[in-house]
């Protein structure tokens, strides 16, 4: 009797061990699969600065196919390109400590912990590079990897260096805050849209064609502008960067008012770049409130009449 009971318990134990092993193996496999999926996702989500730079070159190539850049061929165009690059390089350097936290930038956009970390860690492979598009259309495009393309139309809309700095700071923020890549991760992870241009440029298969189609898709999306939440966030970062660089933060309001006037005067086409931005009156109000609530002060030294004149003289010499 005693032996039978022992045998019974031993059999039960073996059965339980077998069940546990099966369940354990299954669970183990699932855990391994999950870890592998996570690692794979991280692999494809994490871009090194050099990768962002080469993607930016590809996207810029498509932008320059639509809007040819100015030819740097004489003293005036040289002055313009050097001036813009000095300004952008200085703003980027001076705004090093400006927050990149979505929460502190007005909580307009949502970034999970990993996405936020990517923004904190974002470094530009070769710094900011600013080029000029030879068109009177108001257009500005920041690409991954630090390329910033401003149209003559956008530059000439500004009436002072501080206003131009506001445009540069706003556009730079789209790069620094990883807006383009964030949109790409959400929208294009599963497929790259076929378009006439991508089909014309790349008809084959394989990694090279895939990269090519990706660049074209990305650029075509960039022509439509960023989403409203990202525009609000960029206004916020741009205003902080202006202040950190010694420019007048109110220049952001001034330039938004010029955009408002431009929209009214030109009856902006819904397919146009500016049509995808949020209502301009809302943006103006939000920036005004930000300046007030954060107590951003105008740098007294940089706002002395002789200082303003010095900046506007070089702005006029370059573009007016």
């Amino acid at each position: 009797m005693k032996t039978n009971t022992l045998n019974l318990w031993f059999t039960r134990f073996l059965a339980l061990a077998a069940v546990c092993t099966l369940v354990g193996c299954s669970l183990f496999n699932k855990v391994v699969e999950s870890i592998s999926a996570i690692e794979k996702a991280q692999l494809v989500d994490k871009y090194e600065p050099s990768e962002q730079y080469y993607l930016g070159r590809g996207v810029s190539a498509v932008i320059l196919d639509r809007y040819p850049p100015i030819e740097i061929k004489n003293a005036q165009t040289e002055r313009q390109v050097a001036y813009l690059n000095d300004m952008a390089g200085y703003i980027e350097r001076a705004s090093q400590s400006v927050t990149r936290s979505a929460l502190r930038l007005g909580d307009h956009t949502e970034r999970d912990h990993d996405q936020q970390q990517q923004v904190y860690d974002l470094a530009l492979y070769k710094g900011v590079q600013v080029g000029i598009l030879d068109t009177e259309d108001v257009a500005a495009h920041g690409t991954p990897g630090g390329f910033l393309w401003l149209s003559y139309g956008a530059i000439k809309m500004c009436e002072s260096e501080d206003e131009l700095a506001a445009v540069v700071a706003h556009e730079m923020s789209h790069i620094i805050l990883d807006h383009g890549m964030a949109n790409y991760r959400i929208a294009y992870k599963s497929e790259v849209r076929n378009s006439t241009l991508s089909d014309t440029w790349f008809s084959g298969s394989g990694a090279v064609s895939n990269f090519g189609r990706l660049c074209v898709t990305y650029a075509e999306d960039a022509f439509n502008g960023y989403n409203p939440e990202q525009e609000f966030e960029s206004d916020n970062w741009g205003t902080r960067a202006l202040t950190a660089s010694g420019y007048d933060p109110n220049a952001m309001v001034a330039v938004l008012k010029r955009v408002e006037a431009y929209e009214k005067a030109h009856d902006v086409d819904p397919k146009d770049y500016l049509a995808h931005h949020p209502p301009i009156t809302e943006r103006i109000k939000t920036v005004q409130e930000l300046i007030k609530s954060e107590g951003f002060k105008v740098n007294p030294a940089s706002q002395k009449p002789e200082a303003v004149k010095a900046r506007n003289d070089r702005f006029t010499a370059a573009f007016k």
Partner: protein
């Protein structure tokens, strides 16, 4: 017998010594952590600075992509102090924290040609010069457009005072341009 006479003091002492050694080794590790440069040598951020004050700092050396640097135990805002070998000499100075990463750069395509993850957009990681050259060969339109970017980068470099085609251009003059720009515009506090 009192309990302290029975207590294994020698073992406790040995344990403490081991702990102290482990702690000392760990602290040395933290101080001397190795990190890798993730930006190109043509980035102004690759210049090692004597201080974290943009206007008062002097260049003490330049870093190249993927170069290992030793972390020193000092930070200041967005900057960290490092030790690195530059042109055969050891230098110490400040760089932006974000230009460093723990692992060396992979710098190679991370998916197979057929698309191991089975769609085109996943192919983005691994984007490099080799793939860009492939795009040039595949598409004359892309080749023409990329040539414009090449020309732009070279001319821009020349305007700012560095050779964009050089393997290790000196970017210190570019940082000086930024300082001069700010000073001429009276933007400095």
């Amino acid at each position: 017998m009192q309990w302290w006479k029975k207590f294994p003091w020698q073992r406790l002492l040995a344990l403490l010594v081991v702990l102290a050694v482990v702690l000392a080794v760990a602290m040395t590790q933290v101080r001397g952590d190795k990190m890798y440069v993730k930006v190109d040598s043509s980035s102004p951020d690759a210049v090692v600075q004597s201080s974290t004050d943009f206007f008062d700092s002097k260049p003490v050396g330049k870093l190249v992509s993927n170069q290992p640097v030793e972390m020193l135990d000092e930070t200041d805002g967005e900057f960290v102090k490092i030790r690195a070998t530059v042109d055969g000499k050891e230098v110490e100075g400040w760089v932006k924290k974000i230009i460093l990463q723990k692992k060396p750069l992979e710098n190679k395509p991370r998916v197979s040609e057929s698309g191991a993850v089975e769609n085109a957009s996943f192919a983005a990681p691994g984007f490099n010069e080799e793939l860009e050259n492939g795009m040039r060969a595949d598409s004359p339109e892309m080749a023409t457009a990329l040539k414009r970017i090449d020309d732009f980068e070279v001319k821009r470099g020349k305007l700012l005072g560095f050779d964009a085609k050089a393997e290790e251009p000196d970017m210190a003059p570019v940082l000086q341009r930024y300082r001069d720009f700010a000073a001429a515009g009276q933007l400095k506090d």
